[in-house]
């Protein structure tokens, strides 16, 4: 018990929480934007892989870090364009297209990596973002601050601008948007493209901030977690950020608990499992209050009803 309190009271623990949460927050905002506009984007895992690679290779090729982040964003946006083009105007199954995009983005990334770097024994390293010179848990890299800023911006846009209103409406009832002269296709495509860009930036966090080079499989299921976080957050940016922080806290905690007496008794898988099980339990606990966007996963084909 005292061990637990010591951990929870240490600044380094909270620093770790913010670090672990950052890529999740970025990608979760991306997914949330897509889903708020009515499109489930299961391409997230692959798009994060592509973003991690694109950002890193851009930096490796000599681009400064922020432009590398932009490259990652654009790469993700490109995959978002494919996803959107298939699911929005053509209304194809969002499950299939999403999983297809994950497969495509992942394998295309690995292919590109292998073609670009055929014979290296360990991937070259870049000079990543450095933590700011701030006390305690605040000593984070600029990308972490960017993640929180983007979450705030997402909330602001969604709830305080005409664009956000249109986005929310198109996820609730596309016909309502069209009846007011809005362009359903453009709104949904825009959301998927921008959202996918954010997912890719989330991936790039891993290579440009959390670490300094690209590895196969390094995204390691984080994208799927983000899908859960969106639901966990009841499709609201603020709650989703809280969810990401909670998840990160569990992750940081389980890493530390493995070193306690508990760690000697319990198999390490139990610790790895905890965040997932807690997510499921949390979903069950708050299922009543969550409101799914009414038109989520419902394609809108113009002129049919």
């Amino acid at each position: 018990m005292t061990e637990l309190f010591e951990i929870l009271l240490s600044a380094s623990f909270w620093a770790a929480v913010l670090r672990i949460a950052s890529p999740l927050i970025l990608a979760t905002m991306g997914e949330l934007i897509c889903e708020r506009a009515g499109v489930l984007n299961l391409g997230i895992e692959g798009i994060m892989v592509a973003g991690a690679f694109a950002g890193w290779i851009a930096a490796y090729a000599g681009l400064p870090l922020w432009p590398a982040v932009v490259v990652a964003f654009l790469t993700g946006a490109g995959f978002g364009l494919i996803h959107g083009a298939l699911t929005v105007p053509f209304g194809l199954s969002q499950h299939v297209v999403g999983l297809g995009i994950t497969l495509l983005a992942t394998s295309a990334t690995y292919f590109a990596y292998r073609v670009a770097l055929p014979e290296v024994s360990s991937p070259p390293r870049i000079e990543p973002f450095q933590p700011l010179d701030l006390p305690g848990a605040l000593a984070q890299t600029p990308l972490t601050y960017a993640a929180f800023a983007i979450a705030g911006l997402t909330a602001l846009v969604l709830y305080r601008t005409p664009l956000g209103l249109s986005l929310r409406a198109v996820g609730e009832n596309p016909a309502a948007v069209e009846a007011q002269g809005g362009n359903v296709t453009a709104l949904r495509m825009g959301a998927v493209i921008a959202g996918s860009g954010l997912m890719a930036v989330g991936g790039a966090f891993l290579t440009l901030s959390a670490f300094n080079s690209f590895f196969f499989e390094m995204v390691n299921g984080r994208g799927w977690i983000c899908i859960a976080l969106v639901v966990f957050g009841a499709w609201r940016p603020g709650k989703a950020v809280l969810g990401a922080l909670l998840f990160a806290a569990f992750d940081a905690l389980q890493i530390r608990l493995q070193q306690t007496d508990l760690g000697a008794v319990l198999p390490y898988q139990v610790f790895l499992m905890t965040p997932y099980i807690l997510s499921i339990l949390a979903l069950v606990a708050m299922s009543r209050s969550a409101r799914v966007p009414a038109a989520l996963m419902v394609p809108y084909r113009k002129g049919t009803r």
């Binding site: 770790a16 690995y110 499989e217 992750d251 890493i255």
Partner: protein, 306 residues
Amino acid sequence: QDAPLQVAGIYTVPVEQQWVSRIHQAALAAQDAGQIEYTFSENVSNTDYARVMREYAEGGNDLIIGEIFAVEDEAREVAADYPETAFLMGSSFLHDPALPNLAVFDNYIQDASYLTGLIAGAMTESNNIGMVGGFPIPEVNRLMHAFMAGARETNPEVEFQVAFIGSWFDPPKAKETAFAMIENGADMLYAERFGVSDAAQERGLLAIGNVIDTQADYPETVVASAIWHFEPTLQAAIAAVNDGSFTADNYGVYSYMKEGGSSLAPLGTFEGRVPEETMALVREREAAIKAGEFEVEIDDSEPVSN
């Protein structure tokens, strides 16, 4: 022998992975030397492993190298189906005389790991060493145990924190785990995975490398590394295939230090920064190992924190 041997490699992970990279590098070197013609498939899932073996065998390769750790039985079926092809496979099992075209190897570099342990034990000031691994499999466990044995020898006080991250490729996670160990008192890290040395570097602490030498990347961090050399294993196999004597055998011994299959990496930037009496002990043990007078225990069980 006029034509070079046709050699195919099948790896379940990308060739960047430390373990596989040693095999891959050795094969590329042999290719450069004109001994073999080398093709490979990486990231082959275990489900597909037997199929790829068959494809290469059908394709007329003379020697197929790879790792069959979790597909031992299936791989043996394939070997039985293609008796003309030589298979040199990383395996936790011993060779089977009934299957004369399948020889096995493994990374028995516990000797070198033990030596790095001697150094680590002497260099830690907090007497607390953090070890981050991917999965607790024999290939990882035995090196960790050898390392721990070495460290305890030079520093009976030393304590170990051991953690597995459940992935071969999640450097950010490995790094987070290393950070957690540092917070918990570790000032020396055993870097089984990528990401650990980075944590040590960021906090100005020390790390011990494993399988490959990464000191060039972390000059102020990586003190010593236990290196695996696959070349002796591969060369023995090439010679055997060439003269027709390839048969079921345990090539694992070629990874032993006395065979030149493993070594302690040069201290490099840490030359002169390790206590001299420790280095004397290291040199003494190294000589004894090579002379066959000292044996490092092989312990494949899962290591735990203490």
